[in-house]
Symmetry: D2
Subunit: 345 residues, 4 copies
C-alpha cells in the first residue's frame, strides 16, 4: 500500500494538532506544511520530522509527493484553496466552515465534485466515541423512529472580541457543529430553524453585532423536532451533550471527564467538572476523522463528511441568523433559493 503524502496548509493550533496526530499513523507521511508566516513553525516542524515548511501553500499543491491536503488556514482562504487543490487533483480535508459566504461554498464544492477529488469537511464531533455510539445505536434501530434530537453545546469561555469579529458569528462559528450533529443524528435534513438569542454574558460580543447565548428550534424533513442550546460561557467547563428520543427509546451522551473520582464529605458528594475544552474533549475525534479521511483517500470508503454536509450546516446557520434578526421561523429552502438566485445572477 502506497504511503499517502500529506500537505498541511496553516500551522496554527489545529494544523499542528493534525500534524502531530499524523506522525503517529501508519501509511502516511507529512510532506510539507505551509503558513503565511513560516518562521515560527520551523523548529516545531523539525522536531516532529516534517521536512519542509513553506510560506506559500501553492508549493504544496504543486508538490507531486503531496497526495492530500489539510486546509487549516483562516476561513476566508478556504474556497480559493479548495478550488486550486481540486484543480491540482489533491484529496482535500477542510476545516469548518467552508466559507462565511454561502455562495462561495457552493463554488468550492462544485469545484471538488467536478475534479472528482474527495472533499471532507472537519466536523470532528461526528467521530467522538460518545456521539458515534449514539449514531451506531440509532442505525441498529435500537430507538426506532426518531422523534427529537436535543443538543447542549456550551463553551467554557467566550472568544476574544477580535475572534468574534471575524468568526461569522455564533451560528456560523459555534452552532454550525451542532447543526451538523443534528443532521448526523436525526439522519434527516433540517427544514426549518427558529432561533432566540441574545447577549447574556459579554457585552463586548454584542458590540461586535454578535450574540453569546441562543436556543434554536429545529424541524426535520422526517417529521422529528430538534433543539440546540448554545452558550459562550459555562463556568463549569465545556458542556457537550446530546439526547435522541425515538419511538423505541432514548439515547443520551454525557460530557467527558478527566477522572471519575467522587468525594463524599460533610457538604455532599463532589466530582470533577467536564474536560475543559475541545482539544481535551475531542482529542480522539481529531484522530478518527483523519483516519477515516485517509481511508477515503485510499478508496477504501466514502468520504464520511462531504462538502454537501458542510453546505447544509451553513444553510442552517444562515437561517438561524435570519430567524434571530427577523423574529420568525425560517425555512432552509428559503435560504437555499435565495443563494441559488444570487449565484445565478
Amino acid at each position: 500500500m502506497k504511503t499517502i503524502g500529506i500537505g498541511i496548509i496553516g500551522a496554527g493550533r489545529i494544523g499542528r494538532l493534525h500534524a502531530e496526530n499524523l506522525i503517529r499513523m501508519k501509511g502516511v507521511r507529512v510532506v510539507a506544511i505551509s503558513d503565511l508566516f513560516p518562521e515560527p513553525a520551523q523548529e516545531w516542524a523539525a522536531s516532529i520530522g516534517i521536512p519542509q515548511v513553506s510560506g506559500d501553500y501553492r508549493e504544496l499543491l504543486q508538490n507531486e509527493a503531496v497526495d492530500a491536503i489539510l486546509i487549516c488556514s483562516p476561513t476566508g482562504t478556504h474556497v480559493d484553496i479548495i478550488t486550486e487543490a481540486a484543480q491540482a487533483g489533491k484529496a482535500i480535508f477542510c476545516e469548518k466552515p467552508v466559507s462565511l459566504e454561502l455562495e462561495r461554498t457552493f463554488t468550492a464544492i462544485e469545484a471538488a465534485e467536478k475534479a472528482g477529488v474527495p472533499l471532507q469537511i472537519g466536523f470532528n464531533r461526528r467521530f467522538d466515541p460518545n456521539f458515534r455510539k449514539v449514531k451506531d445505536y440509532i442505525e441498529q434501530g435500537r430507538i426506532g423512529d426518531i422523534h427529537s434530537v436535543k443538543i447542549t453545546s456550551r463553551d467554557p469561555n467566550p472568544p476574544s472580541p477580535d475572534y468574534v469579529k471575524s468568526s461569522g458569528g455564533l451560528f456560523l462559528d459555534m452552532a454550525i457543529h451542532d447543526f451538523d450533529m443534528a443532521r448526523y443524528l436525526s439522519g434527516s435534513e433540517i427544514t426549518e430553524v427558529y432561533a432566540v438569542g441574545g447577549v447574556l454574558i459579554d457585552p463586548a460580543i454584542g458590540e461586535m453585532g454578535d450574540i453569546d447565548s441562543a436556543m434554536i428550534s429545529l424541524k426535520f424533513k422526517n417529521g422529528a423536532f430538534g433543539s440546540i442550546d448554545n452558550s459562550r460561557k459555562a463556568c463549569y467547563g465545556y458542556d457537550q451533550r446530546v439526547e435522541v428520543f425515538g419511538a423505541g427509546g432514548c439515547l443520551t451522551a454525557d460530557n467527558d471527564f478527566s477522572n471519575n473520582v467522587r468525594l463524599f464529605d460533610g457538604s455532599g458528594i463532589h466530582s470533577e467538572k467536564p474536560k475543559y475544552f475541545f482539544l481535551e474533549r475531542y482529542s480522539a475525534s481529531y484522530v478518527q476523522e483523519i483516519d477515516d479521511f485517509l481511508a477515503a483517500v485510499r478508496g477504501e470508503r466514502e468520504v464520511p463528511v462531504q462538502g454537501r454536509d458542510g453546505l447544509q450546516a451553513e444553510l442552517a446557520a444562515r437561517a438561524a441568523r435570519i430567524s434571530l434578526l427577523e423574529g420568525r421561523p425560517v425555512k432552509i429552502s428559503e435560504v437555499e433559493n435565495a443563494i441559488k438566485e444570487a449565484a445565478a445572477q
Copy 2:
C-alpha cells in the same frame, strides 16, 4: 390550633389521592366528599373514615364545618365551583387547569380575589423534592442569573382518545405543568412562545385534532430562554427532568427510580426505568402541596401557587396552540390582550 375541615369535590383518582393523604395529616379533617355519582365512593370513604359522601358539591359549600375545599372534579366545573366557593368564603384548592376557556379563568380568579379567600392551583410538581431543591439553589444564588430553562416532560403512554377529546389538547392538558415549571424555575414571566409539534405516536390523537409530540421554545421577561420537550409516549417510562443554566453554574434534576440497583453482565450495565407515572413519581409532591395549602389556610404563609399562576400557564398554553397552528412565535401579551378584549365585550 383549630382543626381545618376539608370538603373534597370529586371522588375520582385525584380526589381520592388527596383524601388518603389528608387522613394522615395532623390538624385537619376530611368532613365530606361529593361526587356526581356518590354510590361507588361510599365504601371507600367509609373505610378511611370520611363521614359523608354527597351527590351535590353545594352541600359541602353550605357545610359550616368545611373550611376549605379541594376541587378535583372535571375541568369544566372548576370555574363555577371556584366562584361559588369563594362566595361561600371557603379556602380553595383547585386542580389544574382552572378552565379550558381563558376568559372564564379570569372570572374565577377575580371571584376569589374579591372574596379574599385563598385560591391555590394544583401545580404539584413545584413540590417535588428534586424540583424544589433546584428552586432552592436558584434562590440561594448558587447559579447566578438564569440564562436558560430546559424541561423534558414525557408521559409513559398516551391517554385514550376519549380523554384527549375533552382534555383541551396537549398544551393545556400536559404542557401546562411545564409552562408553570418554566415560570417557577426562571423566576420570570414567559413573554413569547414558539411551538413545533405533530402526531408521531398515535394517529387517533391526530384525528381528535390534537398532537402527541411537541418542542416549545420560550422567551422570558428577564432575557432568559427556555425549551419544553413533550411526548405522550416514552416507552421507558415517565420522563421528568429539568435543567437550569445560569451565569454561575447549571442545575439538573433527574428522574426518580424505584430502586438504584445496577446489574453488570456480559452485555453491559443495566438499571431500572424511571418510576412509571405521576402517581408514583410525584407522590411526595401531592402531600407537600396540601401541607402548604393548609399552612396558607391557617394564615401561616402565602398561598404557594396562586390563581394568577394558573392563568399565566393557561396563557402560555393558548399561545403555544396559536403558534403551532399559525407557524409563528406568539407573544403572551397578544393572547392576553385578545382575552381582555373578549372579556370586555
Copy 3:
C-alpha cells in the same frame, strides 16, 4: 378476612414507628401498646387512635383481641416476652437481636417453635427496595453462582456511650444486620468469620470495651467469600451499600438520596449526601416487613425472617467478637458447639 389485632410492647422510637405504619394498613388494628413508663405515650397513642396504653406487657398477652405482638422493648426483655407470648399463642414479631446471650436466644426460638406460633425477627433491611431487588435478580439467576458478597455499612454518628454500654457491642448491635444481609444475599450460611477492628472515632467507645470500626472477612458454606465494612461515623451520612459478584455478573445497590439534583459550578459537580439515618433510609422497609409479617399471621406465606435467622446472625456476631479478641478466624460451628455445650450443662 378477619382483622388482625396487634399489641405493641415498647413505645420508644421503633415501637411508635411501627404503630404509625400500622394505622395506615388495611385488615389490621393496633389494640394496645405497653411501656414500662406508659405516661409519656398517652397523648401520642390517643392522637393516632390506639385505645389502650398499658404499663405491663402481660396485659397485652392476656388480651384476646391481640392476635400478634410486636416486641420493641429493650433487648434484655426479648427472650422472656417471646417465651410468654409463645405460650399465650400470639404471633410474634421481635426486633433484633433476640438476645445478647446466645444461649437464651436458643431458648426463645425453641419456645416459639414448640408453641407453633410465627416468630419474625426485625431484620428490616431485607425489605429495602434496593436490597430486595438485588435478591430478586440473584434468585432469577441473573448473576449465576455467587462468588462474593460485600457490604458497606456505616452509621452517620456514633451512639452515646450509654447506648454502647448496653448495646452488646458493634458486632451484635450494628454488624448483626450485615451478617443477616450476607446470609440473605449469598443464600448460604456463614461458616467462618475473621474480624479486624479498633477505635478510630471515639475513645469513649473504647473505654466501654467496644470498637467503632471493623472490617470483617467471611466464608460461606457454598464456597463464596464476603466482607463487611463497619464504621460508627461516616461524616457524609448513612452509608448502606451492597455488592454481589457472581459467575454471570455483578449487582450493586447504592445509597438512597433525598433528591437527585446536581449542581455544576466552577469547583465541580455537587450533589446531596445519602439520606441521614435508618429512619429515613429504611422507611419503606419498616412498612414492608410488617406487611409480610401480617401475611404470615394470616397464613398466606411463610415468616420471611425466622427465629433461626436471628440466631445465625447472633452466632456470626459472637464469632466476630472472639475473632477480634483472639486475632484468629473463628468457625461458626465452634461457637455453635460451645453454646450447645453450655446449654446442655
Copy 4:
C-alpha cells in the same frame, strides 16, 4: 538538556507498549531493544525507528548510548539484569514483580542501592488518573485520617494454565498490584494479611496449585484496615475500583468506560461495560510512569515507585499465600524475618 538513551530488554507486549509510548516523548530516544528471539521484532522495531535489535541484553548494558534500561523480560530474569545493569551504571525501570523469590528481590534492590542508580518498579496503576486523583485528595487532607481502603480488582478472563504455572500465583501475579495500591493510598505499611480464596472459576487453575478468587483482609501500621477482592474472571470486563474512607469523608474511583452513552428502552437503562483489560484501561498510566521515570533519570524528582515498594508488595503477597495455606492471619514482620534469616544463612 541531554537526550536520554533508552534500552528496552524484552520485545513482548509490554516492551513494545513502552517503546511505542517512548517514541512520542520528547528528550528521549530508544537506542536499542533486545530479545532472546530478536527476529520477530525486527520489522516492528524498524517501523517505529528503533535502530538496533539485539539477541543479548548485555549488548545494551555495554552500549554507552544507553542511559537507562526498561526490563520487560520474564520475571525470572529480573534480578540478574537489575544487578548487572546497576553495575553498568544504568538507570533501571523494572516490571513487577522483581522476583518470585523474595530473597533475590532483596539482592537486586541492594545492588541498585549500592550502585546508586535509580530503580523504579512498574506499578503503573499508581499513575492512573483516577487513582492519582484519589491520592491527591488524600494528600490534601480532604478525607482526614484514613480508616479503611477497599480495592476491587477483577480480570475479565483467567490467564492460560501455562501462564498460571510460571506466574507465581494469584497473589504475586495479580494481587501484587493491589497490595501496592493499598500501601500507596493508605500512606502506610501493611502489617498483617488474612486471605481466604479458592477455585471458583477454572478447575485448571486449581490443578496448577493456584486459586482464581480471593478476599484479602489487611491491617495497616497507622491503624487503618483494608480489603482486597480479586477474581480472575468478571464477565462484564476489567473491574478496577478503589474506595478510601476516612474521618473526614470517603473517596471512590470507578471503572473507566469507552463511552458514556445510556440507552433507555422498555427493559431499563443500559450502558457500556468497563474497558476490557489493562492495555485499554491503564493506557494513560503506562505513559505517565515512564514520564516520571525519565524525570527521575534527569534528576528532577525522586523515583516515584522504589525498589523497596516492590519488596513490600512481594512481602504482602507471600504473607497472603501463607495465610491461605495455613488458614490464619500472617504478620508481614513474620515473613520479613524469615526472609532475612534465610538471606543471612
